[in-house]
């Protein structure tokens, strides 16, 4: 045990993980009903949680990035890999009724079908590793633009992006609340 708050600390991993799991549960996104009803457009909880987290998180990280207190960790833009993977992911999320993180959290709230899906996720992870050489050579190379951000390709600065996002989010939240109160 060196420093509990140093990067890589397993205590820190447990603390941040536990806070994340508790927040997912408090946000009700550990409920399969809430997730299925998002895709059925009957309950907008998932989008409310995600958009709020993206905007609050993004504005904070943007301010921390300027004095170099944080480093961006942007994932590679492999257009074909991301698009195909996301396409499969959306279908999987509807069949599973959870995403990987909310599924793990749901197991701990008593969901047995979430556990069954988590075993499926092991199989999915194995299948990916076994097909990785082929995928890397044939899919991840298509449309590979590296670690790019929206401000890089649009010339619109991060603060303007977040102001726009916040505006869209507020209009959407007002609309979603009215829908639900009908």
């Amino acid at each position: 045990m060196t420093d509990v708050f140093a990067p890589g600390s397993i205590i820190l991993a447990l603390l941040i993980g536990a806070a994340f799991g508790a927040l997912l549960h408090r946000g009700r996104v550990t409920s399969c009903n809430v997730i299925e009803n998002q895709f059925r457009l009957k309950d907008y909880t998932v989008l409310k949680v995600m958009l709020t987290a993206i905007i609050v998180g993004g504005v904070g990280v943007m301010f921390l990035a300027d004095p170099n207190l944080v480093k961006y960790a942007v994932k590679d833009t492999n257009l074909l890999g991301v698009a195909l993977g996301a396409g499969i992911f959306g279908v999987g999320m509807v069949f599973y009724g959870y995403c990987p993180g909310t599924g793990l959290a749901a197991i701990a709230t008593g969901s047995v079908h979430a556990l069954v899906g988590a075993l499926g996720m092991i199989v999915g992870g194995v299948l990916f590793a076994l097909s990785f050489d082929w995928v890397k050579a044939n899919i991840l190379t298509v449309g590979a633009y590296g670690k790019i951000r929206l401000p890089d390709i649009t010339g619109i600065s991060s603060p303007v992006w977040f102001a726009g996002l916040a505006l869209v989010a507020i209009v959407f939240f007002v609309w979603a609340e009215r829908q639900q109160n009908r």
Binding site: F20, C32, G60, V74, D76, I88, G92, G97, G101, V123
Partner: protein
């Protein structure tokens, strides 16, 4: 929030009396991501570590040699490190939150599934298992999931992550329309 407090019969559902608004939970996740970036230097994410866990779980079936020589697992070997312990943390936090709020409940088939699709436990398990297989394959192919791409990538305004969000919501809407019309 009236909507979250009771179901029709007034009986408890699995999340019946959690009265946090989604905005409060979302704000909490946003602030937590500051800490993940600034202190842990590791953005919130799930499936990178889960893919490594899959390697460890595969050893009895594929043999230690196959796993050890696999290109993917060689680059991402299993260890009880930050990423994997983060997953344990998620379960601990959700468990404590469920117990404290009195919402822990063994659930085999969720309400929406019972009402719209059917009460068969095995059918629900089959969909959950197959869904789990493809959601993880898709997440690894895309390089992240709703946490790593959706939240951590989205908040960095990453191009890959916003593409991920748009495509996964689109195919999810289509799959949902078919599933709940009982066509798949």
């Amino acid at each position: 929030m009236s909507m979250a407090t009771m179901d029709n019969a007034g009986a408890r559902t699995s999340t019946s009396h959690i009265d946090w608004t989604p905005y409060l939970a979302g704000t909490g996740i946003g602030v937590l991501s500051w800490i993940a970036f600034a202190v842990a230097k590791d953005p919130i994410g799930v499936t990178t570590a889960y893919g490594r866990l899959a390697g460890e779980a595969a050893i009895p079936f594929l043999g230690a040699d196959t796993v050890a020589t696999n290109t993917y697992w060689k680059a991402a070997p299993f260890a009880l490190d930050y990423g994997v312990l983060f997953l344990v943390g998620i379960m601990l936090g959700a468990f404590v939150s469920a117990i404290v709020s009195g919402t822990f409940k063994i659930e085999l088939v969720p309400e929406v599934w019972k009402a719209e699709i059917g009460t068969s436990v095995w059918k629900r398990f089959a969909y959950a298992f197959f869904g789990g297989v493809i959601i993880m394959y898709g997440a690894r192919l895309a390089g992240g999931c709703t946490s790593g791409h959706g939240i951590s990538g989205g908040l960095q305004l990453a191009v890959s992550s916003w593409l991920f969000l748009a495509v996964m919501f689109a195919t999810g809407l289509i799959a949902s329309a078919f599933l709940f019309a009982k066509k798949i």
